[in-house]
């Protein structure tokens, strides 16, 4: 069965080393077709009647794409209509070397049953293996291997002609030479475009074809951009110090400007300015680029003009001088910053972008410009025949390339997301733009879920439920008899914490925090675990939740619902009545929650003195301890900050927001929070003691003092002093900050203080020395209490389980570099989730105001800017900008004083915290960027404020809308 064949390979690793590897050729690799009776595989992937309706081939056929077709036309291959494709091992290996993301997409397709994709291991097949000939390049050899394999297939299938209705294999290649050679040996071969265009069923597939050959797309021969340097030269330049490497960030406001953050060894990163089309040299936001610093006399200052690339497609020549002229403003010599030009692209970070199509004015044109939703991405030229359908829709477009003679990058249409302004579409857009993985879980991931029905049978003790027996073996404590209950916001289905409190015989109190034992279901390293690690966190949008783990776990098996037995990880303290901890212990357990309460229900039980059942007594005990804990925490200098969170009342049928309310906080909210904090701190201490090198912790760095400037200035304007030397001082001074007749002042101050803070981040204890959590005033902190919605908590669970000997460890858990890479991903995902959440709230606010029409509301000035004030409307938790200058007409006289900061408009001067009245409406002039517009009503400034007309009654307006 084995045929041994050795081949010699030379590779360079420092020097020249000769590598000898064995290469076995086999005769038991099957063709994978249903037609074949000679091969004996267990399963066949390729169907007998493999019809894809096409003008070119009327017979059933299998497709064999070559490497470049897979790399460039992956969007086409992913279409459900393309089935029965043979991916050769040669192709798969080449794809793997060239592009990891595409390799993953190919693998996903191979796993999908409906696609009928088959991998043929041609490199190890006795008849299809070929050796590289002298003088033949590796690419040529691979092309030949593909041809040989295709030939083999066609010969092989010919043997079963009678049973196969003339089944053929079709080789797809874009390489002219390869095509010719394949045709010479009698293969059916097409160019990818030819083939896709011939498909009868799906004409729109043509739009997804990536533009590979640029010669077709040329408009003018004039070269607009300087050539990019080859990578070898760029690397040499970076080594020599003539070039610098950094990440390019386009400016949001000015498409002709951008900056590159250059990170040099052991130095602070510096920002270099890039200005002008030619200097930007086709860099796209987030690309890693090489820049060359210009001579000092060519340095410029960042322009303060707002420029958007608007209007019709510009011809590639001629205009750019005019465009650049717009930048030429006079500036002071001191404002000049280091300026550079981009000489080469080290790594592109192109992804599919969301946006909308600008339909070309010429009706028959198939070439259109696409405007991405993100203003930092340039417009992209795409070719499509369905422009009339796509206009007004949100679509996704991928960039294929940016030739040096084209004003815009070339791209192709990927898919349509739906009509602009529709809720589903907009949600999809904001998920995609914030890089939130939100596809349905794949089959591979779901295969790691426990089989239903899943029960912990009563007669089996804690140690022997079906799943429990595999991993835990008696390491679980039976806590089912405890009076445990959960307190959550209304409508919460992923309950990950539950509490109990009871009096012990010695008079002390036993308090337990029980957290869903997610790590029991998600075992390290499997597909489910990897998916969760990648997602990092559950994302909560208005009216929608993007789960981190499949719903079976998040809403059922892990959710600590009442009156069912659930596996938990418990943290149990013995405390005296002064909330001093006597003993702490951690254990895996089984619990049976007696009640799932909402915050309001729990509050009612505590307040209702007639209720004296076990749950209520337990709640009262918890509440009492929580108050003491909170007091202690605040004494230690923990900050109570404020940010307005709004909640939408959503219409149950239309899912449109009908009312908006700021979230209320009750005593029970803080009760649950206190115990969660306590559990997190206890666990953090424990895992750090056990694993000082690889504990996953969370820190909140103290902000640099300059961050507080705005807060101190703002407070001073009301004659209030704020001390910011330490968290404690800040907390104390915030507490005493009161202004008579202005009850909202304190909240406003706290909102401002929140804006001064740094972002809290996860980190690995072995990689950092500063653990302090500034906001909570705790020397050590981690996340333990929400494993259903945060991956960090799963890792912490695993660490803790190992620490108490309840689970086995694995190598990645103990590797601080891997752990710190994981932290980076988690931090990124958390940040993006937050942005997505905010964007979702903003979108729903817009929907709300759309249905409400124009509203007049009172608000407070939160910030004062050079040409605008930022107003906060407490009723809606809404923040908006009132501009005093406009593009088309001359603005009022503005005098800005940075020291105040105050802004004088004509006669009136605005201070921070001023009370104003504004009118709110929806600005839908730009359908892609709808926004809330605010205009001043009171104080009345002639020429600036708008007349206070009576807004239409909201009820009438909404009736019209329906």
């Amino acid at each position: 069965m084995l045929k041994s064949k050795t081949f010699v390979k030379k590779t360079r690793s420092g020097g020249v080393v000769k590598i000898v590897r064995e290469h076995y050729l086999r005769d038991d690799i099957w063709c994978g077709s249903e037609v074949c009776s000679e091969c004996k595989p267990e399963t066949t992937e390729l169907q007998k009647n493999a019809y894809i309706e096409s003008n070119l081939c009327a017979y059933p056929h299998y497709l064999i794409p070559d490497t470049n077709v897979v790399l460039h036309q992956i969007d086409v291959l992913e279409d459900p209509i393309i089935r029965n494709v043979i991916i050769l091992q040669t192709v798969l290996q080449e794809v793997r070397h060239r592009s990891a993301p595409i390799y993953k997409r190919v693998k996903d397709m191979l796993h999908e049953k409906e696609k009928h994709f088959y991998t043929f291991t041609n490199e190890h097949h006795r008849e299809t293996f070929i050796e590289r000939e002298p003088g033949e390049s590796a690419n040529d050899r691979n092309d030949r291997a593909i041809r040989v394999a295709a030939k083999w297939y066609s010969e092989h299938l010919k043997a079963f002609k009678s049973s196969s209705d003339g089944l053929e294999v079709v080789l797809l290649t874009n390489d002219q030479g390869n095509k010719q050679k394949a045709a010479d040996i009698g293969l059916v071969v097409f160019k990818c475009e030819e083939y896709i265009k011939s498909l009868i069923a799906n004409p729109e597939l043509v739009d997804r074809l990536a533009l590979t050959d640029n010669e077709k797309n040329e408009i003018s021969k004039k070269v607009l951009f300087p050539e990019h340097l080859p990578l070898s030269k760029v690397q040499a330049g970076i080594k020599a110090g003539t070039f610098l490497q950094g990440t390019y960030r386009a400016s949001r406001d000015n498409y002709l400007e951008g900056s590159v953050f250059v990170q040099k060894d052991g130095e602070e990163s510096t920002e270099v300015l890039i200005q002008g089309l030619a200097n930007l040299n086709r860099a796209v936001h987030q690309d890693v680029v090489a820049v060359q610093i210009l001579a000092r006399d060519k340095w410029v200052a960042p322009s303060s003009v707002v420029l958007q690339d608007e209007g019709a497609a510009k011809d590639d020549a001629g205009d750019e001088e005019d465009e650049d002229k717009a930048l030429k403003t006079t500036f002071a010599e001191t404002a000049k910053k280091p300026t550079a030009r981009i000489v080469g692209i080290i790594k592109r970070s192109w992804r599919p972008f969301c946006g909308m199509l600008n339909v070309s004015q010429i009706k028959e044109s198939t070439r259109h410009l696409f405007t991405p939703a993100d203003r930092r991405i340039p417009r992209i030229r795409i070719e499509t025949r369905q422009s009339s359908t796509l206009a007004g829709q949100r679509i996704m477009v991928a960039i294929d390339g940016w030739p040096k003679d084209s004003r815009y990058p070339n791209g192709h249409f990927v898919r349509s997301l739906g009509g602009a302004g529709e809720k589903e579409t907009e949600q999809e857009v904001l998920l995609l733009e914030h890089d939130v993985p939100h596809q349905a879980f794949s089959q591979t991931v779901l295969s790691f879920l426990p089989k239903m029905p899943w029960v912990i049978t009563p007669e089996e003790s804690a140690s022997s439920s079906y799943w429990a027996v595999v991993v835990d073996e008696g390491k679980r404590e039976d806590l089912r008899q405890l009076i445990v209950c959960s307190v959550d916001p209304p409508g919460c289905t992923d309950i990950d914490d539950a509490l109990h409190c009871r009096e012990l015989d010695n008079g002390n109190l036993e308090v337990g925090v029980h957290i869903a034992d997610v790590s029991h279901f998600i075992r390290p390293g499997n597909a489910l675990d990897q998916e969760a690690a990648n997602r990092g966190t559950t994302v909560y949008l208005c009216g929608k939740r993007i789960d981190m783990v499949p719903e079976l776990l998040s809403s059922n098996l892990c959710s600590l619902r009442s009156n069912v037995e659930r596996l938990a990880f418990s943290c149990i303290w013995e405390m005296n009545h002064n909330a001093e901890i006597v003993k702490t212990r951690f254990t895996k357990s089984i619990i049976n929650s007696k009640a799932s309460l909402t915050y309001a229900e729990a509050q009612m039980r505590i307040d209702d003195s007639t209720m004296n059942d076990d749950i209520t007594i337990s709640l009262r005990g918890l509440n009492k301890l929580a108050k003491i804990l909170k007091r202690q925490r605040i004494q230690n200098g923990a900050l109570t900050l404020s940010s307005l969170e709004v909640r939408f009342h959503i219409d149950s049928e239309t899912h449109d927001p009908i009312d908006l309310q700021t979230k209320e906080l009750m005593e029970t909210n803080s009760m649950v929070e206190e115990f969660m904090l306590l559990a997190n701190i206890s666990v953090a201490q424990k895992i750090y003691d056990e694993f000082p090198e690889c504990a996953l912790l969370r820190k909140h760095p103290a902000p640099p003092p300059s961050n507080y400037d705005i807060l101190i200035k703002a407070a001073k304007s009301k004659n209030v002093e704020i001390h910011t030397d330490s968290a404690k001082a800040l907390a104390d001074s915030l507490d005493v900050a009161r202004v008579d007749n202005f009850p909202y002042f304190n909240t406003l101050l706290r909102i401002l203080a929140t804006r001064c803070m740094m972002q809290a981040v996860y980190f690995c204890s072995g990689m950092d020395s500063d653990f302090h959590h500034y906001g909570l005033a705790s020397p050590i902190y981690t996340h333990f209490t929400s494993p259903i919605r945060r991956y960090s908590d799963i890792i912490v669970h695993r660490l803790l389980a190992v620490a108490i000997g309840a689970d086995a460890t694995y190598s990645d858990l103990m590797d601080k570099h891997k752990q710190s890479a994981l932290c980076n991903n988690l931090n990124y995902r958390h940040k993006m989730a937050q942005y997505a959440q905010r964007a979702s709230v903003a979108f729903h606010t817009q929907l709300f105001f759309k249905s409400r029409g124009v509203l007049n509301e009172e608000g407070f000035v939160l910030f004062v800017r050079k040409n605008a004030i930022i107003v906060l409307i407490p009723k809606f938790g809404l923040e908006g900008t009132v501009f005093f200058d406009s593009k088309d007409k001359a603005g009022p006289k503005l005098i800005y004083d940075e020291e105040g900061p105050v802004l004088t408009v004509e006669q009136h001067t605005f201070h921070i915290f001023d009370k104003v009245k504004v009118t709110i409406s929806l600005d839908a002039s730009n359908i892609q960027h709808q926004k809330i517009r605010m205009a001043l009503l009171d104080p009345v400034i002639p020429g600036v404020s708008v007349p206070a007309e009576n807004p239409e009654p909201p009820s009438k307006k909404s009736k019209i809308d329906r």
């Binding site: 064995e22 290469h23 076995y24 991998t119 291991t121 190890h124």
Partner: protein, 245 residues
């Protein structure tokens, strides 16, 4: 660059073998006339030569004499040209001393030493070309050489390495696989009774997987023993045919 994919989705390894398949084994016995026993073995690209002297009376320091059984002396070495980079390998470095010790332990368990009290058996093994699984190939070569020398053993000692990738044990690792971050385990087995003469692993492995690894190692060792048995029988046939003439 992406690392190597040690096991493809289709179940093929880098060199085209399936997970449980051994490399091609070729062996010859009695390659040197001067020694009491000798053998040459190729397991894929790993090639080893084993030579046995003895049993003979103690040489060198008499103090090592054992009064109830034979003392076994093993020496392992690698040829300078055995790896990709030519390298001088002095005697008695840490690695080869350890390997010699392992071999000694293995053969003390297999050879019926009590039949030769106060005597000594020398086993010398040299790796001519190294491509993974050096220990196991040495054991297999030495087994054949000991048989060639006519020294009675309890059973063949067959050795094989097993690695663990993607929840699957891989039999008989080659050099690229050994270096690809695989936790590998080496086992020397007396196949008929199923006794383990030596088991060595110095990588991290989850306890749950140990059983399947051991299982795979045993199967692999039994596979090796079948091949060795064939070699011995064929050698005997040739030898007896010669002596009949």
């Amino acid at each position: 660059m992406a690392g190597l994919e040690l096991l493809s989705d289709q179940g093929y390894r880098l060199d085209g073998r399936k997970a449980n398949e051994l490399r091609k084994v070729q062996a010859r016995m009695g390659v040197f006339a001067q020694a009491d026993g000798s053998a040459y073995i190729e397991q894929g690209n790993t090639k080893a030569l084993a030579v046995v002297y003895g049993p003979h009376e103690m040489r060198g320091s008499r103090s090592r004499t054992l009064y109830d059984r034979a003392a076994i002396n093993c020496q392992y070495s690698m040829a300078t040209f055995s790896t990709a980079e030519r390298k001088r390998r002095p005697h008695g470095d840490k690695k080869s001393t350890e390997m010699s010790l392992h071999l000694k332990q293995t053969f003390e368990a297999a050879i019926l030493t009590q039949l030769y009290p106060r005597s000594q058996i020398d086993i010398f093994v040299k790796i001519l070309q190294s491509d993974g699984g050096n220990y196991s190939v040495c054991v297999n070569a030495a087994t054949l050489a000991v048989i060639d020398a006519g020294i009675p053993m309890r059973d063949y000692v067959c050795a094989c390495t097993v690695g663990f990738v993607d929840e699957t044990p891989l039999a008989d690792l080659c050099y690229t696989e050994e270096n690809g971050g695989v936790s590998s385990l080496a086992m020397a087995l007396l196949p008929r009774g199923g006794q383990i003469a030596l088991l060595q692993m110095d990588a991290r492995l989850h306890q749950d997987h140990l059983e399947s690894m051991m299982e795979a190692a045993m199967t692999a060792c039994k596979g090796v023993s079948k091949v060795l048995d064939e070699v011995v029988r064929q050698h005997l046939e040739e030898a007896s045919a010669l002596s009949r003439d």
